[in-house]
Symmetry: C2
Subunit: 469 residues, 2 copies
């Protein structure tokens, strides 16, 4: 990391020294920190933590054991920047909030941008939250309450309520003078919003455009009138898609009467994109909304559901095998070989399903290309089916000195690979149509189909061929 984000030539060499070359926390730094927490040396801790960026503070908090997290925050007092809590895992933040006194939280949250404050407050239970809000300045309280009234994971929850709005008849000069004399501007901003008296959005002006033109230029002559605005109730994932699609850095958020109520900025959206990717990956892997900080009971719960479902489907597959116990008894080689067919089908089905689920979540799969893709997956299944049928057929024929057995397993392989391709694309598409997240449920269904069909095709074909029924 040091090389990665190297600093300017001269005085800033001290930056990023808390990470080692792999971008992980330096062990010596971390041990020194823990020693200072141990001895309760508040002054040393303030000096140590002061130069850190909020995300670095977040990394430090995550690395610490739960007790030390609370002690660190309490020892730092005023010097602790609560925005660091937006950078840690949900479970770490929630646990820490439970341990900290509400008055302490109210003080810390009052210093934050509205979007960060909401992010921290939304996971606190209602009773504590009301107590915290009651201890905050009235103006902050009202704006936070309004944001918290929007649905979870909506644009209204993620938006920053500080923004700069001006009327269209101002000149560039007036605008610059207003910015120069106003002390109460947002921390960072990238564009200015042009509104009518009802606070409906008329246009936007990126800052660079203000700097390019003469002072006498009227705002309405240079503003961007093709404005994109997001309803506050829109899901954050949909909002992220608008940022990606139109390469935006900041987008206006409006309420149900189309009044401008806030702005979404790209840094929040980057977090949303990462969260959604983690969610997709976890769901495909059969785990819920699980983060690395959870403790054993939480993890056991989050995984047991899927294991239970799998117990059901595996039992189903086992019942199918059970139908053929007579066949297997006469030819044990079938029991030895049958997992191969099922496992190849499982892999092929997972491949198709993975590509399909990702394409659906990226909105790349639509009516216009669905048929082409279904045809493609069936053809891929057939082709790989034939290739691996020949391979496995030859291996099996030689291994058991039984060419007919090779032929049978080859045929079963072709059948199962085509079924795998078909299920791999049709099941996620169907679930999506039924408004079920395909990332959650596709895997179970695809594996069940490929297992059952794999066992059934192989054992049936063998039974017929060798006259074992």
């Amino acid at each position: 990391m040091e090389d990665a984000a190297s600093t300017g030539p001269e005085p800033h060499e001290a930056m990023s020294t808390i990470y080692d070359a792999d971008g992980r926390l330096r062990t010596d730094w971390y041990e020194a920190l823990r020693a200072e927490i141990e001895t309760g040396d508040a002054e040393a801790l303030r000096a140590r933590m002061e130069p850190l960026h909020e995300s670095e503070t977040g990394d430090v908090i995550e690395a610490l054991p739960a007790d030390d997290r609370v002690r660190l925050v309490m020892l730092l007092g005023d010097a602790f920047d609560y925005s660091a809590l937006t950078e840690v895992d949900d479970s770490v933040r929630i646990d820490l909030m439970e341990e900290l006194p509400n008055a302490e939280i109210a003080r810390g949250v009052a210093d934050l941008d509205s979007d960060d404050a909401v992010y921290i407050l939304e996971d606190i239970d209602e009773e504590d939250r009301d107590e915290i809000l009651a201890q905050m300045p009235a103006f902050d309280r009202i704006s936070l309450k309004r944001s918290l009234d929007f649905p979870e994971d909506s644009a209204g929850r993620r938006m920053q309520t500080d923004f700069i709005a001006i009327p269209p008849f101002w000149t560039v000069g007036q605008t610059i003078d207003y910015l120069r004399t106003n002390d109460d501007l947002p921390d960072d901003f990238y564009q200015i919003y042009v509104v009518n008296p009802g606070f409906n959005l008329l246009g936007t002006i990126p800052l660079d455009r203000i700097l390019r033109v003469q002072r006498a230029t009227r705002i309405e002559d240079i503003m961007n009138t093709q404005v994109r605005q997001i309803d506050a109730t829109l899901d954050q994932e949909e909002a992220a898609r608008i940022f990606e699609r139109y390469d935006q850095v900041e987008v206006a958020v409006v309420d149900e009467s189309k009044r401008l109520v806030g702005v979404l900025t790209i840094d929040d959206i980057v977090d949303v994109i990462n969260e959604e990717a983690s969610e997709d990956i976890h769901r495909l892997g059969g785990v819920g909304d699980e983060d690395i900080s959870r403790t054993v009971p939480g993890v056991v719960r989050s995984r047991a559901t899927w294991l239970l479902v799998n117990l059901g489907t595996a039992t189903l597959a086992s019942l199918v095998i059970g139908l053929f116990d007579g066949t297997i008894e006469q030819m044990v080689a079938l029991a030895v070989l049958m997992p191969i067919v099922a496992s190849m089908g499982g892999v092929a089905g997972t491949q198709t399903m993975t590509v399909t689920v990702r394409a659906i979540s990226q909105r790349e799969l639509d009516k216009n290309n669905a048929w082409r893709l279904i045809r493609r997956e069936l053809l891929v299944g057939l082709t790989n089916g034939v290739i691996f049928a020949v391979l496995l057929g030859l291996i099996t024929g030689f291994r058991f000195a039984n060419p007919a057995l090779g032929l049978v397993i080859g045929m079963a392989m072709v059948v199962n690979m085509i079924v795998a391709g078909g299920c791999g694309i049709l099941i996620p598409m169907l679930l999506n149509k039924l408004k079920v997240d395909p990332a959650v449920a596709s895997s179970t269904f695809v594996m069940t189909f490929t297992d059952v069909i794999g066992f059934f095709a192989f054992l049936t074909l063998a039974g017929w061929w060798f006259g074992l029924f």
Copy 2:
């Protein structure tokens, strides 16, 4: 989508009309487009495509069959904005580039920002690329060649080479005047770079800071001296991590002598984050760098590798079963039940592996929490092992009216679930240590271990218990 990115109250209602409520291309719009391509109606096509954003044009190109893509670009001529090609799948772009005349590409690329031009040129084979570059203006050619000399997927490839650099002794007034009188500014910019005569970076100034202060203020007094800069050779994924970590919108890129050579902007980084997430998801699902536009032979190739590996590991598992053919012959119920143990282990292993791989790619797993997580996964394996051992043991005991068989399968389940938890975390960590991407290879190893141990544990325990050896 219409509701999602709804437009201002008045004249812009025509926006985003090419999508239906689900965010997919409207069928009537698409059919009308295809008819115009069919009849070669260039004028109608220009009118139809003109209002679209580059990403919308990209969606349209992806939806069209390959032949129609080329015809559309040729019919649009000058009116086709090549930046749309940065928004389509790689395979679509590469195919299209092969069909288009080099002179046409040279003309289209010359209009683009340097980062977009490089993005399009980097996948074209060297001979064609040299021919295209030779037909471009000298200044563009030199800057593009320099970017193309940086390694693939590096910050140097993704950077924009247009930026604003000023000396530290300027005042804010001088800077604004410079921006007002200079016609050759980048399209969009969010900060200004302060450099010494050797073009080493001294500081940065976000545009909002320039607008907040008086004209007489000296630049060096308000610039940000804690600058973060990225080496041009740094991998784009590492660069993305710096943007995420420090909530940057634009970061300076420097060459090996620390000279400022370009800037990376957040819109490119958002694409990188999405690409990397897709790559992780695809790799975990056992498919290579595959996109939805690939044709059958490409897809067959991209998936065959992993299927071949699986054929090997499944054969290994089958050899393990083969060791017990005598045991199975005496008790066919074992063949009926054995896939359940292996499949439960497979799911548990995949769960742990998924969480671990994502944590590694998000840099959340380090030396400080590794041991805690390994202990956690083993404990989760033990707990879920016991829970499902009891369940499966009871089901099996009743199903075969054989309590001893239930006990044996239960014990095998506990063993396999602990092994699954251990492999699920240790294998990705080991691969990462060996500098192999854990997303690519973990799955094979984890599945092999859980299959082999699952079959082996169950059949061995059964053999001992029932004295079948």
